[in-house]
């Protein structure tokens, strides 16, 4: 299906969010993806899958994309795409890494870098539905400027940051530890979602199991090689 870019907004030094109007869109659940396909003048095509920051009925989608240094599609989306441009889309995709307001158990979201995008959709869905299920986010990110949706997240109490390179107040930065993970997350039993680079997700998910979370309560989504 076809979509028209409505607006773009810088989010971080390397990433932006993109609003796309898609008349045929049938709505989506928080956490789902969309495939974006680009076509060059000679017919060459490249497709990639992106998490949606938006959910619910509506025909306006929001993506947030981080530029991968050796990427093919993400540099175009971050640097070149403009309002009015058209894209081909397919979705919504994925039925596993999702949260809907009918789910009532406490929810812990754990993001590494641009892995926060599906959690923006879940936090928004949680907010608009008036869900009373506890939901909190732990966001591991390089520096304060690298946060996606920083202004929106600043309005939420249930967000904890872990800065890996530089903190806002000059306190020590560094990768998360198992102790810090235990201190900053809901205890078992809770539904846990982890999204980020492979190494981050692998480490965090293993620790969560060691902290007493049931393996089946932990849903993961990974990107990048190793």
């Amino acid at each position: 299906m076809a979509g028209t870019v409505a607006s773009v907004r810088p989010e971080t030094p390397t990433g932006r969010s993109i609003m796309i109007d898609v008349p045929e869109w049938a709505g989506n659940i928080a956490g789902q993806h969309v495939d974006v396909r680009l076509t060059a003048p000679d017919g060459y095509q490249a497709s990639r899958s992106y998490s949606l920051a938006s959910s619910g009925p509506g025909h306006r989608l929001e993506l947030a994309v981080d530029r991968l240094p050796d990427g093919e599609v993400s540099p175009y989306l971050v640097d070149d795409l403009q309002p009015g441009d058209m894209l081909e889309l397919r979705g919504p995709l994925g039925g596993w890494f999702v949260w809907s307001p009918e789910q009532t158990q406490p929810v812990q979201l754990i993001a590494g870098g641009s892995g926060v995008v599906p959690f923006i959709a879940m936090l928004r869905s949680h907010e608009t539905s008036g869900s009373t299920a506890p939901m909190q986010l732990l966001y591991s990110v390089r520096t304060p400027e690298d946060r996606f949706f920083a202004t929106e997240l600043d309005g939420l109490d249930a967000v904890t940051y872990r800065y890996t390179r530089r903190t806002p107040d000059g306190s020590p930065a560094g990768r998360i530890t198992m102790d810090a993970l235990a201190a900053a997350t809901l205890p078992a039993p809770s539904a846990v979602f982890v999204c980020g680079p492979t190494g981050f997700v692998e480490t965090v998910a293993t620790w969560l199991v060691q902290l007493g979370h049931d393996q089946s309560a932990i849903k993961t989504e990974r990107f990048g090689g190793k």
């Binding site: 060059a40 994925g94 596993w96 199991v209 849903k219």
Partner: protein, 197 residues
């Protein structure tokens, strides 16, 4: 009919006949998993094939390693669009494992440690098309990539190659497994781009 994307030139023109449509080549080995990586020690590892009569054929690690081992060099294709060429594996052919198994059923459910399942037609596991692999690039298979042993069915998208393989159960019908219930295609041929429903 495609929409041309203003200003998009594209980077690679691989024009490689070995690259299925919509895929790009990677030198990495990305990971697609739905949950934490299960810890499966070879001491307690067991693999079994269960048929419609309830007959169970099973192997522990020692018995499994005593079977004829094959070297496999193959391209692999993930539904998340990366392909990797010329990967090297060692494993046991499913033809070897099914040699003594009698079944009339045409479909198989793959079961993994950790609870993951995926469905596959029986014929896609036979005639030199599938292995249970325990070595990648000359090293024991990394747990992230399915170690100690995973299924290897390289002619289908790689989610059909269940990591941490625990057993195969013969099925009368092609019932969907875990990923298939969550939006992925029932068969998953990369040359036909059978990614999603």
């Amino acid at each position: 009919m495609s929409i041309f994307t203003r200003g998009f030139a594209g980077r690679g023109r691989d024009n490689n006949p070995d690259l299925p449509p919509g895929q790009y080549l990677t030198e990495d080995f990305p990971v697609l998993s739905a949950g934490p990586t299960p810890d499966v020690p070879t001491e307690s590892w067991q693999f079994s094939i269960t048929t419609e009569t309830g007959a169970v054929h099973s192997w522990n690690w020692e018995q499994f390693m005593a079977l004829p081992i094959e070297e496999v060099h193959t391209d692999i294709h993930c539904v998340t669009r990366w392909s990797k060429f010329g990967t090297s594996w060692r494993g046991v052919s499913l033809d070897t494992l099914f040699a003594e198994v009698e079944t009339e059923y045409d479909y198989v459910m793959e079961h993994a440690y950790g609870g993951y399942t995926t469905n596959i037609p029986y014929e896609d596991l036979r005639d030199g098309k599938a292995w249970i692999a325990f070595e990648f690039d000359g090293e024991p298979l990394d747990p992230e990539h399915g170690g100690p042993a995973r299924l290897l069915v390289p002619h289908l998208y790689f989610w059909k190659s269940a990591k941490w393989i625990k057993g195969l159960t013969m099925m009368k019908d092609d019932d969907p497994g875990f990923w298939e219930q969550n939006g992925y295609h029932i068969y998953g041929d990369p040359w036909k781009e059978q990614r999603y429903w």
